[in-house]
Symmetry: D2
Subunit: 139 residues, 4 copies
Amino acid sequence: MIQAEPIAVEQRIAFGDCDIVGIVYTGRLLNYGVEAIDEFYKQVVGRGWFEFCTDHKLATPFVNVTVDFRKPATPRDKLICHVAPTRLGRTSIVFSVIGKQNDAICFEGSYTCVFTSMDTLEKQAPPDWLAKAIAPWVG
Amino acid sequence: MIQAEPIAVEQRIAFGDCDIVGIVYTGRLLNYGVEAIDEFYKQVVGRGWFEFCTDHKLATPFVNVTVDFRKPATPRDKLICHVAPTRLGRTSIVFSVIGKQNDAICFEGSYTCVFTSMDTLEKQAPPDWLAKAIAPWVG
Amino acid sequence: MIQAEPIAVEQRIAFGDCDIVGIVYTGRLLNYGVEAIDEFYKQVVGRGWFEFCTDHKLATPFVNVTVDFRKPATPRDKLICHVAPTRLGRTSIVFSVIGKQNDAICFEGSYTCVFTSMDTLEKQAPPDWLAKAIAPWVG
Amino acid sequence: MIQAEPIAVEQRIAFGDCDIVGIVYTGRLLNYGVEAIDEFYKQVVGRGWFEFCTDHKLATPFVNVTVDFRKPATPRDKLICHVAPTRLGRTSIVFSVIGKQNDAICFEGSYTCVFTSMDTLEKQAPPDWLAKAIAPWVG
C-alpha cells in the first residue's frame, strides 16, 4: 500500500519570535513544530485539538519530542512544515515534522503523543473517526 | 573528581501557559526547559544569553532538543528544573534538565548547543571564562 | 482610610522575549503586565487565576487594557511590577500595573477585568473571600 | 480624498493560546493585534518589522496600546484583524486594529508607535518609501 504524502503546513514566522541574534528563538521554534501537528489534524480530520477536547473529550498529550535543528529560521520567509504520522500504536501516535524555509531544512522532529480521556488523562485507543482519517499514512 | 550537583532553577508556571485540558501546553513546557538553561548560566557564570550576545558576541544555538514528558505540569505549583551540563565538546555542550513539581518528574530533557560567533554563526570553542565556570560539571 | 501600598511583583525577563532590536518585544511585554496581576492575587489572596477557575469556577476576563510604554525593557535586569487594584465596581475591577527596571518606569498600565462564572461567562459580583482580600486597596 | 479600506489580516488562533476557560488568554490575544500590524506592513509595504530592522536600521517601538475586549476569541475560528493607520504624526503613527471572528468583534484596539533609529532608538521621521506606502490611509 502506498503511503500518503506529508501535509505541507505554511506558517508565518512572527517578528517577536526572532531573538537578538536575528534568528528564531529555540523555545518558540519548538512550538512551530508542535502547532504544525494541530494544523495537520485540521486539514486531514477537519478538526483540531480544540475540537478534540471540546467536542470529543479527547486529549492527546505529548510523551516525547525530539528535534534536530539544521539551519536557523528567520522571519524573512514562511516556514513550511511537512507533517506526517509515521506510526500508530494502540494508544499512541508518532509524527514526523520537517520544517523548511526556501527548501532548506531548518529542523526535523519526531513527536509522540498518546490518546487520552480529557477528563481523566487515562490512555485509550484513538476514536474510529480519527484512526480512519490518518489511515492513509499509517494504515 | 566529584561532579557538581545540578542547579535548581525555580520557575512560576503562568496561567496562560495552561491549556483547556488544565495542564501546561507542550509548546510552552518545552520553553520552560530551554529558559532553565539560561538561568543556569546566570547563576553559575553570572551572565545569561543576553549578555553572551551583547557583551561577548557569543551565540549558543541549539542543535538538538530531546524531551520525555512523564507527568502533566500545572500552574498550581512551582516548576523546579534541575539543570546540569553533562558533556562539553570542542564546540558544543549538552545539558540535562529535569523538571519537577512537588518532587514528581514532569519532564526530562537533553539539550545540545553549539558555541558560535553571534555575527557569523560559525562554530568556535567556548571562551575561557565560560569553560572555567562550567568545569565543576564537565571538567 | 489609608490605602494599602502596591504589591511588588518581581519577574525575570526571558532572553526569548527580547527582539532583534535588543529590547523586549511589545507583544510579550504586554503579557508581563497581565501576568503580574495573577501574581498579585497569589500573594494577596493566596490563590491565582488557575485556582479561581479550577476551585471556584470563577473567571475574570479582561475588558480593557491600556498601557503606556516609557522606556524599553531588556533581559539584563529584573522587571519589578507594582500592582494595585484602583477601583472595585459591582462586577468589575481595575488594576494599575507600573513596570520598572532599575527604578526607571518601563510601562504604566490600567487593566479592567470583570468577574464571571467560568462556565457561562455571565457577569457576577466578586466572591466575598476575594472582595475581602482586596479591601485594603479598594475598600 | 477617499481613505483606503482597512487591510484584512487572517490569523490562525493556536490551541496553546487558549486557556482553561476555553477562550484565548488576554496576554496572547494582545499579541495577535500587535502581530497584525506587522502583517499590514508586509502586505502594504512589502516588508515587515524584521526587514525594517535588518535592511533599514528602522525600529518602530510602541508607546501606547489600548484595547477593548468585546467578545472572547476561541481557536475554533480564524481571527480576522482589520488593520488601518489612522493618523501619521511627524515621528509617530497610530493604528486601528479590529479583531473579528465570524463577523463579531472580539476586540478593538488603538496602537501608537514611533519611528526610531534601530541603533540609537532616537525618534526620526518615517522614511519616504514607508510614508508613501501608507499615504492612501493617512495622506
